[in-house]
Amino acid sequence: MLCSLPQEITDLIIDHLHNEPTTLKTCCLISRSWIPRARKYLFAHIKFYPSVGRLVSRWRKTFLDPTNSPAHHTRTLSICNPLLITDADVDTILTFCGVVCLNLDTDLIQDQGVSLVPFHGLSPVMRSLRLTFATLPYSKVFSLILSFPLLEELVLVSRNRRREDREWSTPSTSSRLTGSLELRLAEGIQPITYRLLDLPNGIHFTKLVVSWISGEDVMSTMNLVSRCSDTLESLDVASYLCELPSSPVPDQYLTPIRRLVRDASA
């Protein structure tokens, strides 16, 4: 009876199971015709971590024929420590050509040697990039950003402060960046901001999420807000910028102590 169901009806049923991976895996065992639709959801989000080399290698051995690999179903690809990716792994990574959202975490304290070149232009339909790094040069970060012509959303998180990195030349083209921008940078947002403001196609973010750790970050945020004023709908600012309180203890508790000290010294 199941076989007599039109394919579109079967697909519709499987669509309803999109967030039930156990059921989807069972669907793959029922009928060969059910596999493509079930794979669409089963392989939508792929994470290669914590051990990227071993996991990519396992993927390659499991799906020997790249043309038949479910990599084309993947929409979100997350990779930790790309330094461990070998030349053999690169070919496997390149099969993820329909990825819309890429999460990269260098997972190192010193990552300036990490190459992001294997990810350049990975998917022509890439919309969202999240990059977590430490001391990776901004030239490498922006080379990656600029390799995605349809990029809309950008999340940059840095864990460590780095030496000042002024290397920059205005690119000839850039994506329109119409989604959200999130900047959580240990050295402040200024070094990224002036590069973003210099992009030839401008920035048109609808949402800004920024963290301040210095006065320069306030100015940078104002520049971002000003540049996105026609599109900005949502603003999320976290200020770590403050003078330390004169005392962590409220005055009501300190006053009697001060009086005692004053009386004692008198």
Binding site: R159, A186, S211, M222, S229, D236, S239, L244, P250, D251
Partner: protein, 127 residues
Amino acid sequence: MPPLDLSEATKLRDIVFRCKGSKVDWVTRALHTAKSKNIQRISLDLSRNVFWQTILNEWSHLDHLLVQFWDLYSPSLQVMYESTRGWEDLRNHVARVLPVLMSREIIDLVEYPYVEQPFPSSTAPFI
């Protein structure tokens, strides 16, 4: 430090101010510049540090400014806090620093799960 100028962002609908230090005056100064008539939600994420602030005057300005916003545009007003803080504890603190908002019951207290600080402690010397 100059205030965050929001006057050009005329389509702004949702604003979140996360006070991770001990000051709140930057929030008041930023809101003073807001010209958007579309603001639908203003959220304050208050850390424990912010209640050490003994300058009640700063809180008072913020309290009155948020009331003005509510009277003009009726945005949703929220105080967000990490779930590590006791609810009653926070309610008492907020009632002390934002008395008008609390007495008029126009601000919601919203709990969110504890999340790790975005920066390691070694790189956030201002906390």
